[in-house]
C-alpha cells in the first residue's frame, strides 16, 4: 500500500528528466538528420544485413578456412563413398540423360560449370545457389561460391574492420600530435606521410608482405601480417585528415579558454581537441571499410599469395579466383572450339562475388555520405 501511494506521489510531480549529456544529444541530432536520408538508410540496411551474415557465419557448419570443393560426376550417378563431395551432372547436348534424380545440366564441353540451382520440389536452394566457381571449365573439380561467400564474411569483415580501426588509431594519434604541436614535429610527420602516400597501396602491401611474411604459413600469423601491411598503407590518410581538422580546432575559443584556465597539453588534446576533430575520420573510416576487400581482391588477383591457401574463403579472394585470365581464356577456348554453336556465358561466376563486393562497398559509401551530411551542419537540408 505504502508503495503505491509513493508511486502516485512520484507520478503527480513533474518528471525531472536529466538533460542528456551533450554527446548523446549530438548523437540524437545526427540520427535525426541521418534518418531522413533515403540512400543512407538503404546503406545502413545492407550493412545490418552484412552484420547479421557476419554473426551467422560463425555458426555455419563448414570448414571456415577453405572453399568447399565439389567434383562433377559428368553423366555418372553420385558415388557417396568418394573422397571428394560429388554433384550429379550431365551434358544434355551430348544426348545424355540424367543418371538419377537431382542431376544438373552442364553446358557443352564445360563439365565443371553449373548454373545456379534451385530445387523446386523440396523448395530448397539446391546444392549450388550461386552456381559453380570453376578454375578450369574443362576439368571436374570446382568451388562453391555461395558457401565461400557466407564463410568469407567473417574473414572479410574482420580484416576490414581490423585494418581500419588500427589504421585510424595510429593516424589519429599522429595527426593530433602533429597538428597540435606544429613546427618540427608537424614537418617530420607530414614528410613521413608524404612518403607513404606516394607509393601505390597495392605495391606497399605486397612489398611489406613479401619481405616480412614470406615464411609465415600459419593462418593467424598470416592474417595478422596482412592486417599489419594494410595498416602501414592506410594510416597516413587518417593522419592527414585529423591534422587538417586539428589545425582548425586548436584555434577555437574553447581551446584558448582551456589553456587560460591552466589545462596541460595532454588534457587539452584528450578532452578538447581530439573529440572535436575526429568526426571526419569516421566518414573516411566507413568509406575505407568497403575499400579493403577491393584491395585484397586486386592483390590476390595478380597472383600474390595473401592467405595461407589459394582457395581461402574470403570475398576478395573468391572474386579474384572467378576472373583469373587463365579461367577467362578457358571459357573462350571452349566457346571457340564449338564453331558457332550457342555458347554459355557463365555470368554467375562473376556476378555473385562481384555483387557481394559491390554491395558492401556501395552500402558503406552511402552510409558514409549520409553520415557526412548529417554531421556537417552546412550540408543539412
Amino acid at each position: 500500500m505504502a508503495d503505491e501511494s509513493e508511486k502516485k506521489v512520484e507520478a503527480s510531480q513533474p518528471r525531472r528528466r536529466r538533460r542528456p549529456s551533450p554527446r548523446i544529444d549530438q548523437f540524437r541530432r545526427t540520427w535525426y538528420f541521418f534518418r531522413r536520408n533515403t540512400l543512407a538508410m538503404i546503406g545502413l540496411g545492407i550493412l545490418v544485413f552484412f552484420a547479421a551474415l557476419f554473426v551467422s557465419s560463425f555458426f555455419y557448419p563448414a570448414d571456415p578456412t577453405e572453399l568447399t570443393t565439389y567434383v562433377a560426376t559428368n553423366g555418372n550417378p553420385v558415388n557417396p563413398n568418394a573422397t571428394q563431395q560429388q554433384i550429379c551432372t550431365y551434358e544434355p547436348g551430348m544426348g545424355e540423360l540424367p543418371p538419377g534424380p537431382n542431376c544438373y545440366a552442364t553446358p557443352n564441353g564445360m563439365p565443371s560449370v553449373i548454373a545456379p540451382t534451385v530445387n523446386l520440389h523440396p523448395a530448397t536452394l539446391g546444392p549450388l545457389p550461386f552456381g559453380s566457381l570453376t578454375q578450369n571449365p574443362g576439368s571436374a573439380p570446382f568451388y562453391d561460391p555461395f558457401d565461400g561467400l557466407v564463410k568469407g564474411t567473417q574473414w572479410s569483415l574482420t580484416v576490414s574492420v581490423g585494418v581500419v580501426a588500427s589504421g585510424a588509431l595510429i593516424g589519429i594519434l599522429a595527426g593530433v600530435v602533429s597538428g597540435y604541436y606544429g613546427g618540427v614535429v608537424d614537418e617530420v610527420v607530414m614528410r613521413i606521410t608524404d612518403i607513404f602516400l606516394s607509393i601505390p597501396g597495392l605495391l606497399l602491401v605486397i612489398i611489406v608482405l613479401a619481405v616480412l611474411a614470406g615464411s609465415v604459413t600459419s593462418l593467424w600469423g598470416r592474417m595478422s601480417y596482412v592486417i599489419f601491411a594494410f595498416v602501414v598503407t592506410w594510416w597516413p590518410t587518417y593522419a592527414r585528415i585529423v591534422r587538417s581538422q586539428v589545425l582548425i580546432t586548436r584555434e577555437q575559443r574553447y581551446v584558448e579558454a582551456a589553456k587560460a584556465s591552466g589545462a596541460r597539453g595532454g588534457r587539452i588534446l584528450r578532452k578538447h581537441i581530439m573529440p572535436n576533430s575526429i568526426y571526419p575520420v569516421f566518414v573516411q573510416m566507413s568509406l575505407d571499410v568497403g575499400t579493403v576487400p577491393l584491395l585484397i581482391a586486386a592483390i590476390v588477383f595478380i597472383g600474390f599469395r595473401l592467405f595461407p591457401v589459394t582457395n581461402f574463403p574470403e570475398w576478395g579472394t573468391i572474386a579474384a579466383l572467378s576472373s583469373q585470365p587463365s579461367v577467362l581464356s578457358g571459357f573462350i577456348e571452349v566457346c571457340q572450339s564449338q564453331q558457332g554453336a550457342a555458347c554459355t556465358f557463365p555470368w554467375w561466376q562473376f556476378l555473385f562475388p562481384g555483387l557481394t563486393l559491390f554491395l558492401f562497398a556501395i552500402s558503406v559509401s552511402f552510409f558514409a555520405d549520409g553520415l557526412r551530411d548529417a554531421l556537417d551542419p552546412r550540408l543539412r537540408r
Binding site: 608524404d194 601505390p200 614470406g214 586486386a298 576478395g316 576472373s323 577467362l328
Partner: protein, 399 residues
C-alpha cells in the same frame, strides 16, 4: 615570386620524399634473407650459390671444418652487410641512384614467363617495359579527363536533376566495382559477343585483337614470313624510342601503331572508369563552388549567354581545382596498372610486378625496382601538377 623560383623550391621538396621512399625500401630490403638479397643484387652466381655455407667438396674447409662460401663473403662485403647500418644505407642509396638495381633471377616468375628478362639487370628490363606502361597511362589519363571533366560539369550545372543522380551512380559504381571484374566482363563481352576489335595488319587482317590475348602481341603471324621485324624484338636491337606506337610510326607501319592503340583501348577505358569516378565528384564540387562566386553573377548580369558563362568563366576556373586533385588521383591510377596489364596480358611494368610475386622465390629486384619506379612516376606527376597549377593560378606562387 617568379615561376622558376617556385619550380626550384618545389624540386627541392621532392628530395626528402625520394630519399624517404628509398630509405623505406632499404629498411624492407634489410629484412630479406641475405642469400636472396645477394642473388638479386649480383645476379645468379654462375659457379657457387649465394648460401653462406657450401659443401666442403667444392672448397677447402677452414679450421672449424665448415666451409664458408667465398662468394657470400665477397657479396656481403660489397653490400656493406658486415658494416654498421648507416654505412649499408649509404651503399644502398648510391647503388639505387646509380642504377644498380640488381638482376632478375633465374627461377623467379619473371624469368619463367618473360624468358628474355632472365638474368638481365632490373633497370634494363624495366626500361624495356616502361614505355608500354607510359603509353597506356597516357591513353588512360586522356580518357579519364574526357570522361570526368564534361560529366562533372554537366552534373554541377544540373544539380540534383536526373543527370546529377546518374553521375552519382556512375561515380559510386566506379568506386565499388573491382576494376579486374569490369575488365574481365568487358573482355568476355568483346571476345564472345561482339567478336572483338579487329586487327588491321595486312597479314592477319580481320582477326580479333583479344582472341589471342594470352599470347604475345602482336602475334608473329601478323608479319611477313611469321618473323618479327628486328626493331620490335624487346631487348635485342635498340628500337629508336622504345615506345611501340612511335616506333611503328617511325618505321612506316601505321597499321601496327593502330593495332597497338586498339589493343590498349579497353584496358585504358577500364582504368579510366575507376579513376574518372573519383575525379568526377571533385570536378562537380569545384564547379559548384565556382558557380556560386560573384564573377559568375556579374557575367550573367551583363547578359552573356549561359553557354559562355559556363564554358569560359566557370569551366576554366573550376579546372584549376581539378588539376590539384589529379596528383592525388594519380596514385590510385598507377596502382591499377599491375591488375589491368595482368588481365589483358599487356607488356608493362605492372605485369612484371605481377609475375615477380606470383611464385616463390619472389623476384626482389623487380619488386623493389618497380616500387621505386612507380614512386618516381608519382612524384614526377605531382611535380608537374603543382607547377601547372602555379602557372595557371598565380596566387599559389605568391603564397
Amino acid at each position: 615570386m617568379r615561376l622558376w623560383i617556385y619550380i626550384v623550391r618545389r624540386l627541392i621538396m621532392v628530395i626528402p620524399v625520394v630519399v624517404g621512399v628509398m630509405t623505406l625500401t632499404f629498411l624492407l630490403v634489410s629484412a630479406v634473407p641475405t642469400s636472396d638479397r645477394l642473388a638479386s643484387a649480383f645476379g645468379v652466381s654462375p659457379r657457387l650459390s649465394w648460401n653462406q655455407y657450401i659443401p666442403c667438396s667444392r672448397i677447402n674447409p677452414d679450421e672449424n671444418g665448415t666451409c664458408i662460401n667465398p662468394a657470400w663473403v665477397r657479396g656481403t662485403h660489397e653490400l656493406g652487410l658486415d658494416k654498421p647500418i648507416p654505412y649499408q644505407w649509404a651503399i644502398y642509396m648510391s647503388n639505387s641512384l646509380t642504377g644498380k638495381w640488381g638482376y632478375v633471377g633465374n627461377d623467379s616468375g619473371v624469368a619463367t614467363t618473360v624468358s628474355i628478362a632472365r638474368g638481365q639487370p632490373v633497370l634494363t628490363v624495366l626500361g624495356w617495359f616502361l614505355p608500354y606502361t607510359l603509353e597506356l597511362a597516357a591513353l588512360a589519363l586522356t580518357m579519364t579527363l574526357f570522361m570526368a571533366v564534361p560529366i562533372g560539369n554537366i552534373a554541377a550545372v544540373n544539380r540534383n536533376r536526373p543527370v546529377d543522380q546518374a553521375s552519382r551512380i556512375l561515380s559510386f559504381s566506379g568506386y565499388a566495382i573491382p576494376d579486374f571484374m569490369l575488365g574481365s566482363l568487358m573482355l568476355m563481352m568483346f571476345v564472345l559477343v561482339i567478336g572483338g576489335p579487329n586487327v588491321h595488319s595486312p597479314f592477319c587482317h580481320g582477326q580479333s585483337a583479344y582472341t589471342d590475348f594470352t599470347g604475345s602481341w602482336p602475334p608473329p603471324q601478323c608479319f611477313p614470313n611469321g618473323v618479327y621485324p628486328s626493331w620490335l624484338v624487346m631487348g635485342q636491337i635498340s628500337s629508336p624510342t622504345g615506345f611501340p606506337t612511335v616506333d611503328a610510326l617511325i618505321h612506316g607501319q601505321w597499321w601496327l601503331a593502330l593495332d597497338t592503340i586498339i589493343r590498349i583501348m579497353i584496358p585504358a577505358f577500364v582504368i579510366a572508369y575507376g579513376t574518372a569516378a573519383d575525379l568526377l565528384r571533385f570536378v562537380r564540387n569545384s564547379m559548384l563552388e565556382v558557380l556560386n562566386l560573384d564573377f559568375i553573377r556579374s557575367a550573367r548580369a551583363k547578359g552573356l549567354p549561359e553557354r559562355t558563362v559556363i564554358k569560359k568563366h566557370a569551366g576554366r576556373n573550376s579546372l584549376n581545382v581539378t588539376i590539384t586533385v589529379l596528383g592525388l588521383v594519380f596514385v590510385g591510377f598507377l596502382g591499377g596498372f599491375p591488375i589491368i596489364e595482368y588481365l589483358f596480358d599487356l607488356n608493362g611494368v605492372g605485369i612484371m610486378l605481377a609475375y615477380s610475386v606470383t611464385q616463390t622465390p619472389y623476384d626482389y629486384g623487380i619488386i623493389f625496382g618497380s616500387t621505386v619506379l612507380f614512386t618516381l612516376l608519382i612524384v614526377t606527376a605531382n611535380l608537374i601538377v603543382d607547377v601547372l597549377y602555379a602557372y595557371l593560378d598565380p596566387r599559389v606562387r605568391l603564397g
